[in-house]
């Protein structure tokens, strides 16, 4: 395998802590917050992360495919989750220590519950508002209630983090800066 070339494009308004493990070709959009100890691995293809995402500590995002892994806007990756989805839409929540395999693609407004393991034998696209929950990774459809409140919380959360994290952590800049 050819050696991985590192190229990071980090938007000037993104907050990426120094203690983050980045590998390969990675683009991080405006307002996205990456906590310390997160790992983003673009092994074969590049990873593009949209705006206002929150990536918490010990999160692992891996792209094992050749094509670009696209992550949309305002997604929340909670502590210690592992994501290999080739595409993720907007406003998704992947909860604490959930693991999602590369066979699943997320659209928008999906929730993967805490500690869920999602490994599918065939490729699948998860429909909007799907919730995967519980130890057996069961599924349900979210009615969309509390959607505005949830969004509001997420906006305030990322706004807070953008303000507070730089006070206590060293930040990382992109190659261009």
């Amino acid at each position: 395998m050819a050696p991985i070339k590192d190229r990071f494009t980090i938007h000037s308004k993104a907050v990426v802590c120094q203690d983050v493990d980045l590998r390969g070709e990675i683009t991080i959009g405006s307002g996205t917050v990456v906590h310390p100890k997160a790992t983003i691995f673009a092994i074969t293809g590049p990873i593009v992360i949209g705006a206002n995402c929150i990536i918490e500590e010990a999160v692992i995002i891996i792209n094992r495919k050749k094509e670009v892994m696209r992550i949309g806007d305002e997604n929340l990756f909670e502590i210690g989750c592992r994501v290999e989805c080739p595409s993720i839409g907007d406003f998704n929540t992947i909860s604490t220590r959930a693991r999602v395999h590369y066979t699943l693609r997320l659209t928008s407004y999906c929730v993967i519950g805490a500690g869920c393991l999602v490994v599918l034998p065939e490729e699948e696209v998860l429909e909007e508002h799907t919730v995967i929950y519980g130890p057996a990774s069961e599924r349900r459809v979210w009615s969309g209630r509390g959607h505005i409140q949830e969004l509001d919380l997420r906006r305030k959360h990322s706004e807070y983090l953008r303000e507070t994290l730089p006070k206590f952590n060293r930040l990382r800049r992109g190659d261009g800066a």
């Binding site: 203690d19 500590e57 706004e159 807070y160 952590n169």
Partner: protein, 190 residues
């Protein structure tokens, strides 16, 4: 006092404070000025403690306070819980009592953990959980947000549920267990 084997650690890997706290050099501690350790507390390597996520507002804010004889095992993540209250987003402090053992790779976002609490390995303790004194959480338990775990019970499963009551002697037993563990945790020179 006891015949259990000591647990040795290389001396250079840990920092020992005057009050007997042993903190691994390989633990990630963000915002240490906002963290209080009660003394004789052990923080193992690869643990992550987030003291930087503080409550906004003037003055000094304590984010995480740990009592004495606590153990934070390898790969544990302690981070304070957050919510919006009256339209303002904030992180809220996390208080952990004395004689609390937290197992390896557990994620804790609790608001309060009492004294003599034992939490197993690979648990997920949701936001704003209250764990009362002498409770025990089994390995691999997932406690959903805002749960209250009463005193002297064993919780287990996903979602974490009541399994059984614990005997009243739990406090004495667990106190001697945590003290023993601290005494067994000895440096190895060289």
């Amino acid at each position: 006092m006891n015949f259990a084997q000591p647990v040795y650690y290389p001396k250079a890997d840990y920092i020992e404070t005057d009050t007997g706290n042993k903190v691994s050099r390989r633990a990630t501690i963000a915002g240490p000025q906002n963290i209080i350790l009660g003394g004789k507390t052990i923080i193992s390597s690869t643990a992550i403690i987030r003291g930087d996520l503080r409550r906004t507002g003037p003055g000094h804010a304590v984010v995480i306070s740990l009592g004495k004889y606590c153990l934070i095992s390898e790969g544990c993540i302690l981070r304070p819980p957050y919510k919006t209250y009256r339209g303002n987003f904030n992180y809220y402090p996390m208080k952990i009592g004395d004689h609390v053992h937290i197992g390896a790779n557990t994620v804790v976002e609790a608001a309060m953990i009492g004294n003599y609490v034992e939490i197993g390995k690979n648990c997920i303790i949701g936001k704003f959980t209250m764990i009362k004194d002498c409770a025990k959480i089994a390995d691999n338990t997932v406690i959903p947000p805002n749960t209250v775990v009463p005193a002297l019970v064993l919780f287990s499963g996903s979602p974490g549920q009541f399994v059984e009551n614990l005997p009243e002697s739990t406090q004495e037993l667990f106190e001697s267990q945590t003290k023993q563990y601290y005494n067994r945790f000895q440096p190895l020179e060289g």
